[in-house]
């Protein structure tokens, strides 16, 4: 039954994929030929739109699973999460590469994207983000490299990478902490433009904590997806305990947000019937609901509800980033912005490419085979162990 049902589904998604790709290519052509003015609804009053708000802010955040899980497995030495580590590192790496691609669309002169590496201004948050993203993408590539080396059986580089792995993980965690929070710091400079529901000196902290939440949710989401696509067994108890960690983090985040709103005395703003208030409530609800669900024992142990909670957190995360970068700026300045179709088409194309590359890599590289090789090693250990 399941086999039969899967085929038409895949071809349907393939059709969608090619349609998205086609629209994306045409939009890319328009972006190149007509410039930012022709391809976006951005203007002097609203210079950052969907590409920064979604592609960059959300892209980086959703890739946070990479450093979160790497820290869990390698720093805290919780080995049971190893089976999903590779897939998470791969998503993180792809996420960052795609963020850079999106940035190339958004920059007025994309061929100068390397300028911050040479022309320094350490007082700029953007400068710090540029450096961190560059370095962390390199770290992710190195963290993922052993998978490629394994596939082709290159023993020597494999041994070097093993020796380097712990310093790399530590470096990766530090870099991620810095730039995940710095994406929030970017908005510290616009107190007169960002609506007080979102503008707070704690923006960097909120961006960091919510990115860890998104990273965990993304890991749960991915494990479910790959278990469906590749017939892999879902590591349910593993994901369930991850869900409980997620619930605690969400509670921490929401408490902080509430305290912050109370301390700044802006909660009364919520009593007006305004669009930004509804969007604010939506963002909070999408974190609150999964938190409550995950704290209930019954739902944190069922695969379907775990998956549902993860998806809610992901949407809540995206809502938060779009609220800071679009809703909050619109409400704070009174300027309205709706992305042009070309902006949406290019965004969708980038997301679709991400999915496609992940599938391709998962098919051709030993991403889900850690378990197998680990089992093999365990077996061979048993065999060589003097009779037991």
């Amino acid at each position: 039954m399941a086999e039969k049902r899967r085929w038409p589904q895949i071809t349907f998604w393939q059709a969608v994929f090619f349609a998205v790709l086609l629209a994306g290519f045409y939009a890319t052509y328009l972006r190149v030929v007509r410039g930012l003015g022709g391809a976006t609804n951005l203007n002097d009053q609203f210079p950052w739109g969907l590409w920064i708000g979604f592609d960059v802010l959300c892209g980086v955040g959703l890739a946070a699973g990479g450093f979160t899980l790497a820290a869990i497995v390698h720093i805290f030495n919780i080995e049971r999460y190893k089976p999903i580590l590779r897939a998470t590192i791969l998503t993180a790496f792809l996420g960052y590469v795609l963020v850079i691609v999106a940035l190339l669309f958004d920059l007025g002169r994309p061929y100068r994207v390397w300028h911050p590496l040479v022309m320094w201004n350490p007082r700029s948050v953007m400068f710090e983000v540029a450096w961190c993203v560059t370095l962390y993408t390199t770290v992710l590539a190195l963290e993922f490299a052993p998978v490629v080396f394994e596939r082709y059986g290159w023993e020597k580089p494999l041994r070097w990478m093993r020796a380097l792995s712990i310093p790399l993980v530590i470096l990766g965690v530090i870099l991620s902490t810095l730039h995940q929070s710095s994406l929030g710091s970017l908005y510290l400079i616009v107190p007169e433009k960002l609506h007080p529901l979102w503008y707070t000196p704690l923006l960097p902290l909120f961006f960091f904590v919510s990115s860890v939440c998104a990273g965990l949710a993304m890991t749960i989401f991915e494990s479910w997806q790959s278990s469906r696509a590749f017939g892999k067994q879902l590591e349910l108890p593993l994901l369930a305990s991850m869900g409980r960690v997620l619930a605690v983090l969400l509670a921490f985040y929401l408490t902080l947000r509430c305290l912050d709103l109370l301390n700044r005395g802006v909660l009364s703003l919520l009593f007006h019937r305004r669009l930004e208030n509804y969007l604010f409530l939506l963002e909070i609800a999408l974190f609150l609901a999964p938190m409550l669900l995950l704290f209930r024992r019954s739902s944190s142990t069922s695969a379907a509800s775990l998956y549902g909670c993860a998806v809610m957190v992901l949407f809540g995360f995206v809502a938060n980033r779009l609220n800071v970068s679009v809703t909050g700026i619109e409400a704070g300045t009174g300027i309205s912005y709706l992305p042009k179709w070309t902006e949406i088409a290019i965004t969708l194309m980038i997301v679709a490419l991400g999915f496609a590359i992940f599938r391709f890599a998962a098919k051709h590289l030993p991403i889900f085979e850690v378990e197998k090789s680990e089992k093999k090693r365990a077996q061979s250990a048993l065999l060589t162990a003097p009779g037991d």
Partner: protein, 244 residues
């Protein structure tokens, strides 16, 4: 007239239809705005501690000692953070160009460096725009307000706003009525981000030590456990051990 002189100085075309646009744009780096029977000029304030200079990741924007905040287009990659961050919404972008640059008033940096006035001040027939030493201008503004309090609103815009600006404004009516924000902080904006950025070295060292420590602890525990197990096995060798 100042608009025309400014366009000429910056090499931007100017005609009647552009003259009617009362806002800053890539083809208009200064604009005279009408508010009833009053006029106001909009231009880059050339802040003393400019937000744009602090946010530019490539250092394309620089503040010089004699006042101007200049822009080096050859460095700019077009991230538009300066436009996002400027509290006065001054920098504009060439949206319809394939390879655009940022446009803003640079207080005629090249002229000022030669000891000349800005183009707008030089051409102004009524003396509404004056160029000079900042302290001297402030003194004159104070003197004008005190000797003629009826025709001036009692505030010199730019002495304290966002930490002070190189362009100072005087008006007959409150500034918000002329489209000039009066709600900006009195402290330089770059402090908002610098307070966080300056903590980076601390964060890096603390996290580095902390993470290495946790790694050492967790792995040491596993190592000790393994060693103890091995010792135990060495004390009581299993019966089946040894060659068959």
């Amino acid at each position: 007239m100042c608009e025309q002189a400014c366009a000429k100085q910056n090499g931007i075309p100017y005609d009647d239809s552009i003259a009617h646009e009362e806002k800053l744009s890539a083809h208009k780096v200064t604009a005279v705005t009408t508010h009833g029977d009053k006029f106001m000029r909009k231009l880059c304030m050339n802040c003393l501690t400019p937000t744009c200079v602090s946010v530019c990741p490539v250092g394309a924007l620089q503040k010089s000692a004699d006042g101007p905040v200049s822009y080096d287009a050859s460095r700019c990659m077009g991230c538009r953070y300066c436009m996002m961050a400027c509290p006065f919404q001054v920098p504009t972008y060439e949206w319809d160009k394939r390879l655009p640059v940022v446009r803003k008033c640079t207080m005629c940096a090249s002229r000022v460096a030669q000891g000349l006035q800005t183009a707008c001040a030089e051409i102004c027939p009524t003396g509404a725009t004056k160029f000079g030493d900042r302290d001297a201008l402030i003194a004159e503004a104070r003197q004008r307000i005190s000797s003629n309090p009826a025709s001036y609103y009692e505030h010199i815009y730019g002495i304290e706003e966002v930490g002070g600006t190189s362009v100072l404004l005087l008006a007959a009516i409150p500034f918000p009525e002329l489209g000039v924000r009066a709600d900006l902080p009195r402290t330089p904006m770059p402090l908002l981000t610098w307070n966080v950025l300056s903590e980076i070295p601390n964060v890096v060292t603390t996290m580095g030590v902390l993470l290495s420590g946790i790694w050492w602890l967790t792995h040491r525990r596993a190592e000790v456990a393994a060693a103890e197990r091995a010792e135990e096995e060495a004390k009581w060798p299993k019966s089946g051990a040894g060659p068959k």
